[in-house]
Subunit: 145 residues, 2 copies
DNA sequence: ATTTGTGCAAATCGTTTGCATCTGA
DNA sequence: TCAGATGCAAACGATTTGCACAAAT
């Protein structure tokens, strides 16, 4: 009884259903990437990172598809895009309201546990509405000049 | 007596001295870019923006030099780099501690006037020290889907 | 004279796009 | 069947780099 159902059970979630629920066709690649992304806890990864991971898992997907998938997942609310680096774009599997440490030099993101209280955010400029407030705590490993 | 001194006086500051004080050779291009940058209030610009402005002012500088200059100025503490967009890098002539609105769709930065109080920032991960805390208030023009 | 900066064009990096082919419903 | 997804390779935009030449001390 080692069928695909058992596999889904083992992963703790049914990626096919999750994709369907988001209006995305459960294609081989999307399911595979989704399982890589959401198998374990919160993660921050770039397109390239994810592709490498896929290769290691013997899933072959083109980089273009990885990008497509990441953006589709983001649009579907399964991922959150974080731009802190200027160079690359990070995708966060934690879509809840939270903030980040950005480790300079290592170029990695770490979730800030717990809420950061932000004193009243001044009203946005005339005719604007706030869509989100992001706090980035930049840090570096001690001893790194 | 329309000498270079008079020019400096007119601009309200001596860019040559300012560069020297920062350990930068006051070359024609650096002085010109510096004067464009710091002539009026706080500004947020990209390398390309600055080059266009230079062209308009009949100062010819290569894009490579604009990039070099912006980075050197940043290193010297005359500018602050802001990455909120993923695509381009903004340089802020206001180096004081402050935060930004980022207008989606228009891709422009606006200073947040006044302080944003940030409730205690959780300690950074082991072995790390905080270098800066940045708040980006993303907003959009009302009516823009 | 020596050091440092500049311009150009080519190279690089992350990301996107066009299009022919394949696949899931 | 056939809309929608994928892969590839070329296109892209922002930024960097290598190197010959020019300018500052």
């Amino acid at each position: 009884m080692t069928n695909s159902w058992a596999q889904e059970k083992h992963d703790g979630f049914d990626m096919v259903a999750r994709l369907r629920a988001s209006g995305l066709r459960p294609t081989r690649q999307r399911v595979a990437l989704g399982e890589l992304l959401f198998a374990c806890g919160d993660r921050h990864l770039t397109a390239e990172t994810l592709q490498e991971e896929a290769q290691r898992a013997n899933v072959q997907v083109s980089l273009a598809t990885v990008y497509n998938t990441l953006h589709q997942f983001t649009e579907a609310g399964l991922l959150r895009e974080v731009s802190v680096d200027g160079a690359r774009t990070y995708f966060d599997t934690n879509v809840s309201d939270h903030h980040h440490y950005f480790v300079e030099g290592e170029n990695c993101l770490i979730d800030v546990d717990g809420q950061i209280r932000i004193g009243e955010v001044p009203a946005p400029p005339e005719g604007m509405e706030v869509t989100s407030v992001e706090v980035v705590v930049r840090c570096r490993r001690i001893g790194t000049s």
